[in-house]
Amino acid sequence: MRIKNVLQYLEHTAARLPDKIAFSDGSGGASMSFAALLDTARRVGSTLCRAGMTGKRVAVLMDRHPAAIAAMLGATYAGAVYVPLDATMPKERICYILESCRAGMIVCDECNRALAESFDRLTMTYEALTSQPTDDISLRRVRARQIDTDPMYIIFTSGSTGEPKGVVGCHRAVIDYGEALTSALSLDEQSVFGCQSPLYFDAPLKEILTTLMMGATTYLIPRGLFSFPLPLIDYLIKNGINTICWVSSVLTNVSALGALDVRAPHTLKTVVFGSEALPICHYHAWRKALPEATFYQLYGPTEATGMSCVWRADRELSENERIPIGAPLDNTGLMLIDEQGNEIFPLIDQASEIGEMYLRGSCLTLGYDHKVDQTEAAFVQNPLQDAYPEQVYRTGDLAYYNAHGELVFVGRRDGQIKRMGHRIELGEIEQCAQRSPSVTQAACVVNRATQEIILFYSGSAQEHEVMAALNCYLPRYYLPARAVKRSALPVTPNGKIDRKTLSKE
């Protein structure tokens, strides 16, 4: 059977496992079975069709709850493009997104109704959308016209660098991603996910998509639990969660506060981390606590739908080694390109030089919404061939092949600076600082006025100790002007360190 629409996964799974819980927040009352999810999404879709939303953009402003997933899938049923929002976003950001994507409607739940109505746009509540009967004829008509390169969602980048951009994802890319990811992580019907991410990023696609595909179950872990590591671990155990795909800093918080020494989340069989570097000492702490679990690191930009590379922890890492990002997912092409535009290849028994990663394949999104110039700057002709048009995505991320032939992420191209003729990777300094267990977080920024490198960090280490340690590892020209201790570093809504805020200090 040919899959060209993500909803086909839901339909197959709902026919096979109608009563199995698809999504839950762990509180019992808020669970949704596959059959209920299918029925709800079709009702939402029918009402949106009647409201003329086919081919338009529908913003979803709902709490992080199974119903929000039903609303997004409902928009897909209507042939609309969903744009997830969140009440915790600043109001100006919501305004900007609604304007920028030309949203035709806001779908909200009752508790976000006042906020949604304050934007002076057509608004419908989830309750109103689901109270109408299903209109089978309209839904079938929409489906008959849909092809796999049609847009499915627009997700706005966190805006940690510059103005937020709406990345337009399509069915084909999501299907390609889902097929590759489930096989790379060996996910199946027995997978029980504990989802950490907010719903307005590409990150939760990992859990949502594979749940629909495999008939797995996803628990949307309440946000507040991430402040309290032991109650969080108890939640994982109580719900039998066996798979987590979390931002690295969330794993670091749990281990840094000492929770793993008290109680290991022993139900976990698959631990996946990514989005930023996991300090090696915290990686070792998690592995020690869960010796039976399989660990993976993922890497990937939103522009290539989700994750593009995976490393499976199947060998021991040396003390000062960076955790690799491994190799591209199945059917994803990755080219490492040097400054002269030539491809870099792995070398036998030694590390390659550093290059920029370019991605190609069905995994690519359609580009930035209503931003032709930025799209053309990032989605470019394949630099290795000019025989026919072939769009590839220039990630702006630097990496090299280590002696094992695995890719290792170094940092952003714009995190690379030149000083006294030497090339400096800010990521390298951060990595070095985090070798010490008494440094929890580290982030380097460049003061644009003075060109000084400043290292911000958190942890129990003193500033002079951090500088002394860097002095041992790094060449002189690599040393930051100073290390500045903070009790914690600011983070973006997805939990990544907010370098933009730091660079303003």
Partner: protein, 76 residues
């Protein structure tokens, strides 16, 4: 001790009536970053080491609850 705790919290949330707030966690005023910050700062300010078993919502909801926890750890 209470005064010092109030100072730390006011620095984090200048617009909240810290002294009288009894649901710092339940009302969502303190997020996960705040909790990590608070643990680090309390450890440094009172020369204690707040263990994972004490990092629970009930110990972080008010200045009084925080002070009770720190005193208990200090006595050990």
């Amino acid at each position: 001790m209470e005064q010092k705790i109030i100072e730390i919290l006011e620095k984090m949330h200048p617009t909240v009536d810290i002294k009288h707030e009894t649901a710092l966690v339940d009302e969502g005023i303190l997020d996960s970053l705040d909790i990590v910050t608070l643990v680090t700062e309390l450890n440094a300010a009172f020369d204690v080491c707040i263990p994972a078993v004490e990092i629970l919502p009930s110990n972080f909801n008010s200045v009084e609850a925080l002070a009770t926890m720190v005193k208990r750890l200090d006595d050990v």
